[in-house]
Structures are given as C-alpha cells and as structure tokens.
C-alpha cells in the first residue's frame, strides 16, 4: 500500500463535475499528511474532453478506464473499473464526492475491498496512519468525529460545496490506461437514460446561492417570483417540505430532512417557517436570510439577516435592487 490518495472523478455530459475539483483539494490535504501523491480515476466511454480537464488538475496520474460497457453508469461496471484502478495504483486513501453516484459507488467498492468508509464528510484529515473525518449525523443536528481503525484502504465521500475547487491549468498529469475487467453481460443493473425535470439547471445541492419558498407561496405559479430573484443573483430555487407536499414544487427541489441537504454561501428563505426538519437541510449555509410575515417564525432564530414582511412585496423589490447592483 502506498501513501497515495486516489480521487474518483465524476463526469456529467462528458465534462468533469465541479465536485471532482473540490475533492482534489481535499485529497491534496490528505496527501500532504500521508506523504503521497494525488491521482485521479476516470471511467466512462466518451472521455477525451473529461480526461483533458482531469489532466489539467494538480494531480500526478490520471487512470483512464474507457469502455463501451461504461457508456452509462452501472454500479457493477464502475465498481469493476474502480477496483482495477485501486489494484494498480494501490492507494491508502480513496475519495469520492458525496453525490448520488459517489455514494452509490463508494459503498459498493468499500465492501468489495474491505475498506473503511465515511460518508458525506465536511472535513477530512490524516493522522498517525488513520483517516479522520467530521460528518453531519442525525439529519445534520450534530457532527460526528469518525476515525478509521483498519490497516487497509480508507475511503471517504466529501460533501459538495465544502472544499474550494482545485485550479485547472498549469499541469499536465500522466495518463495511464486500465482495462475494465467485467464483461457487459455480467452487469445486471444499468442506467438507461436521464429524465431531467431541471435538465441543465443546477441542482440545489450544487448551488452557491439558493432562494427557497415555503407553503405561503400558495401556488406553483407564484414560485416565479423566487425564480426571478434566483436568475438575477445566479441562484437555484428550493422549497420546503410543506410547499412540496402542497404540490407547489417538485420533490427534487425539497430541502430538509426528507429532501436535500445544501450548503450554499447564501440561503434566502421566503415564507419558510423554519421547522427543525427544514433547518437541518440548510443550517450550515454561510449566510441565511429570512423573509417572513410572522415575526415569531422560528427561522429568524437561525438567520443572519431578517425582514419581517410580506414576501410577495419584498422579493420583487430585492430582485430590482440586486439588478441595479449587478448591472449598474
């Protein structure tokens, strides 16, 4: 086992996802302590553009597993490919983004190679041969400090929007091809296609700025006032559970305990009461703004800035002011 750190590179539509560069930053921190290098593993079929991008990140090797079998994601296909890279690179730490793909793959591969695995970490470190992580538990009500206790490989998935993305450019990593061991007919579960309700639009978990609405929006159409604000400031729109349950927004936009957990630099909550189940989904946002008619709404206890007022009045005014600021 080397002291190296291997990063699973995640691709969407032939391009590296932003999370990959973030995980490289985390990997560099670990490698600095473990005394090794950072490598990337990239899997798929139409890979040329993504490989170029990957090689421009501050990493030593990019291991490429290219096969028509990996054209679409399958747990078994990608696990076979990543396992092959792990056997070749022999890292002591393997890092993933804590995305849908990262969480699906990391658990499978960790079980396969007998690794330690910590999911959805907001901080990682390496000390005395052990991987250490801080991760939210109990739906984000508290943090757990976890350490690896094994002599083998240690793995972790990193929460999006925590580490800054590593810079691309200024490097040309070495490329190494790795053959995919598994045959196509041995794969029994595979992605067929993507159905994008927000195809092309950024997912809330990837957003730096979120404008969220609660049940007081009263209709799906009214969400437009939040979209107008989000468009001006470059944000994504989210929703509370109450708004989703009432049919005003799709579940994919739901933020909270049974929705998504987000970590933007700015979260603007409009007409959101601030129940604990919602707070656990956005509480680590750098800056929280609350706009609510009810001065006693619990959200104000978790916000940094608040306006007690009618959001139907306030939000369009904010949109106008931000437009002035950003265009003027």
């Amino acid at each position: 086992m080397t002291h190296d750190v291997l990063v699973f590179a995640e691709i969407r539509d032939g391009q590296l996802k932003k999370i990959t560069a973030e995980v490289v930053t985390a990997a560099a921190k670990i490698a600095g302590k473990s005394g090794g290098a950072v490598d990337l593993a990239i899997l798929g079929n139409a890979l040329d553009k993504a490989v170029d991008e990957a090689a421009s990140l501050p990493v030593r090797n990019v291991f490429v597993v290219k096969s028509p079998v990996l054209e679409k994601y399958s747990t078994e296909g990608f696990a076979s490919g990543l396992e092959a890279v792990i056997r070749k690179a022999d890292p002591c730490v393997v890092l993933f983004g804590a995305t849908a793909m990262g969480k699906d793959l990391s658990a499978r591969v960790a079980a396969r190679v007998g690794a330690a695995l910590m999911t959805d970490c907001v901080d990682v470190d390496f000390e005395n041969g052990a991987l250490k992580a801080k991760r939210p538990v109990y739906s984000g009500k508290v943090y757990a400090h976890v350490v690896s206790t094994n002599q083998g490989i240690k793995m972790a998935s990193i929460r999006p929007n925590i580490y800054p993305p590593a810079d691309k450019g200024g490097n040309r990593a070495a490329l190494e091809d790795v053959a995919l061991p598994i045959a196509g007919d041995a794969i029994h579960g595979m992605v067929r296609e993507m159905e994008g309700s927000g195809a092309g639009k950024k997912d809330v978990t990837e957003a730096e700025i979120i404008v969220a609405g609660g049940r007081s929006l009263k209709s799906a159409e009214n969400f437009k006032i939040l979209e107008d604000l989000a468009d001006v400031i470059g944000g994504s729109v989210g929703a509370s559970r109450a708004a989703v349950d009432a049919g005003y927004a799709p579940h994919s936009k739901q933020i909270g305990q049974t929705g998504k957990v987000v970590n933007p630099k700015l979260y603007i909550a409009c007409g959101v009461s601030g129940a604990i189940q919602h707070l656990v989904g956005m509480r680590t946002s750098k800056v929280i703004v609350a706009v609510n008619k009810d001065p006693n709404a619990p959200i104000f206890q978790s916000a940094d800035y608040g306006i007690v007022g009618d959001m139907f009045e306030i939000v369009p005014l904010l949109t106008t002011e931000f437009k002035k600021l950003l265009n003027g």
């Binding site: 007998g114 109990y138 094994n150 083998g152 700015l266 800035y305």
Partner: protein, 266 residues
Amino acid sequence: MKFVVLIKNVPDTESKIKPTPDRKTIDTQGIKWVISTFDEYAIEAALQLKEKFKDGSTVTVVSLGPDRVVESLRTALAMGADEAVHVWDPAFEGTDALNTAKILAKVVASLGYDLILGGKQGIDYDAAQTCAAVAEHLGIPQVQVVTKLEMSDDKTKITARRRVEGGDEVVDIKLPAVLTCEKGLNEPRYASLPGIMKAKKKEIKKVGLSDLGGLGPQDVGAAGSATKVVGYEPLAERLGCRLIEGEPADQAVKLVRALHEEAKVI
C-alpha cells in the same frame, strides 16, 4: 416472491439530539425510537408488490440492533409484513455500517430472497452504506434512492427511477437485486388496529452470532468494524439575526447592501 426489507430502529425526527457533556456519546434520555423514515417507504413498497402479484409472496423484515428494535419489527408486522427477524448479539456492539452489512448479508442469504429493500439511509447516522454493501456481499445488482419502481409481469426485472443531481435516472435492473427507497416512492400505510393485535402474537425469529456460519467475535462489532465514532460536536451557534427595519423598498435596499458589503456573498 420473497421480499426482504432491512429496517433500522432510530430516534424519531422530533428528538433533540445532544452530545453528552464528555461529547463521546449522544444523550438518549427521553428519546422516542421509531422505524427510520426511509425504511417505511421500503416496507410499503414490499407490501404493495406482494399485493400486486397475489401469488403467495411474503414480506420478511429484518433489523439489527438491541431489544428496542423489536417494537419496530412489530410495527412492520402490524403494517402487513409476514415475518420478522431480530438480529442481535452482545458481540455486535460497536458495529459500523459496513460491518452491519456483512452480518445482514449472511442473515439474508440464509432467509432466501428475490428482492431486498431498504431506506436510502438511516436517519441516525446517514451513512447510506449498508444496503449497497449487502448487495456487494450477495453479488447482486443495486439501485438506490428510488423514487419510482415497476416490476415486470414475469417478475424478473425492475425499471426504477433514481434521484440524482438535476433529475432522475431510469435504471433497468434484473432480480435478485437490492433497492433503496427515497421519499416520494409511496405513502406508507398506518398499521391497522387488527394488524397491531395480530402482530403482538407473532413470533419474532432471533439470530445471534452463533447462527452466522463463518463469522467469529473478531469479525463483528467494534472488533470487526473499520470505522469508529470517537466523539460528537454540536453545530456552531449563529451570532444572532439582524432584523432590517423600514419601509419595504428601504428594507430591500438595506439588505442588498448588507449582503454585498458586509456579508460579501453577492
């Protein structure tokens, strides 16, 4: 068909979760223990498949944990599950998600299965590892975070939708398989009063270390786990909310200025 549902007994979502003063554990005083939210969707999905095919299919629920999990197993039986298995042994103390999966895979293998279901993550540790690791140990495919599922009439495959960033993926998967459930897949039924009464009398099968062929005390519990929680930390307190006063137009101007110049987020 044989449906096996893996469920976890956890603190309910209203619980205040506080580290003990030494921050080494969570204070469990006054906590109400329930079936983990996402596991309820798994139980419901299994029951709906059983009802759809009406072919003598059975639903078996399995839970690993100390005696408090028995109540969750009874709730699942009351909802309509046919059998319940309580997996516990003092040697399992300290087991982490991957080690739990190693144990559960053995249990499930001995029960037999066509489809294994679970929640996407336990709402206590949010690891989202156990079900995928069970699939790995059994050598079967997996699809996680499922928001919609349809089984073929010949019962050999499932078409599922799974939630990813930016939308849903359509996944084709052959049985036997492991599937984890996301909110929105279904509306879990409430246990009926007759169901609850019947469940009280049902026998709950017990499985301990000695029933797991090939695993010894060094393979399970803290000894068999590669991760360990060494402490807990409360979330950082916010410094307090600054309420912005004035007429609406004025409030908007002040807030935008604060976000730009003070907080520097726009």
